[in-house]
Subunit: 135 residues, 2 copies
C-alpha cells in the first residue's frame, strides 16, 4: 500500500477511513457480532460484496482474524485482534463527541457518563473474548 503521507492521522484514515470499516469494527466491539450474516443485517445495509471486501481488508491490516466456527465447519467467525481492540479508546471518544453534537442523541451527558463507567467492563469482556480465540 502506498500512503499519501506519513502522518498518523492520514495512516488511520487510510486504514479504516472508508465508508464501512468502522461500522464493522463497531459491530465487533459493541454489538458482539461475529458472523457474516450478522454484519449484513446492520442498520446501514451494507451490501454483500462490500462486506466481503471490507472483512478481507480488515483482516489483511491485522484488525480482525477469521476462524472456523467450532460447531459448524462452513461457518466463519470473525474476532478482534489486539490491534483492533486498541481502537476502543478512539471509538469511545468518537462516540462521546457524536453524543454531544448529534441532536438525535437524547440526554448526551447521561449517555457519555454511562459509556465511561462501562469502559473497563467492556475492555475486560473483549479481552476475554480475545483469549478464547488466540488460546
Amino acid at each position: 500500500m502506498k500512503y499519501r503521507s506519513h502522518c498518523p492521522i492520514n495512516f488511520a484514515q487510510e486504514t479504516f477511513g472508508d465508508k464501512w470499516s468502522l461500522l464493522v469494527m463497531r459491530d465487533l466491539i459493541f454489538k458482539d457480532k461475529k458472523y457474516y450474516n450478522e454484519f449484513l443485517a446492520s442498520d446501514e445495509k451494507i451490501s454483500t460484496n462490500i462486506l466481503a471486501d471490507r472483512l478481507s481488508k480488515l483482516e489483511m491490516n491485522g484488525l480482525i482474524i477469521k476462524s472456523t466456527d467450532k460447531e459448524n465447519q462452513a461457518k466463519k467467525r470473525y474476532s478482534l485482534t489486539n490491534k483492533g481492540l486498541d481502537l476502543l479508546p478512539m471509538l469511545l471518544e468518537m462516540i462521546a463527541w457524536s453524543a454531544k453534537y448529534d441532536s438525535q442523541t437524547e440526554a448526551p451527558d447521561t449517555f457519555i457518563q454511562s459509556l465511561k463507567s462501562n469502559r473497563q467492563a467492556l475492555i475486560e469482556k473483549l479481552t476475554a473474548d480475545l483469549g478464547d480465540i488466540t488460546a
Copy 2:
C-alpha cells in the same frame, strides 16, 4: 442531510469520515494553519476544488468558522469552533493508535508519551485562539 442510521459512529463517519476533512482539521489543530493556501500546501496535495468544498462543508457542519482577516480584506481566516476543537481527544487517541501500529513511526512510546504531556498545553493554546475570534 440524510443519515444511514442514528448510530453515533455513523454520525461521526458521515460528518468527517471522507478522505480529506480530518486532514484539514489536523492542520487547524496541530499545525496552526489558518489560510487557504496553507491547507493547499499540505503533504497530501489536496486539490483546490476539493479543499473549497471541504472547508464549506466543515463550516456548514459547525466545525470551523470563516472570517475576514484583519490586515487584508481579501484574505479569509479559518478557525476552530468549540465543536471542532472537541475533536481533539478523539484525534489524540487516533494518533496514539497509529503511532503504535504504523511501522513508520519511530519510538512510538516516547511519541505517545509526549503527546499526552503536551495535551493540556495544546488545549489551552487552542482555546485561547478561539477566544480571539469569538470575542
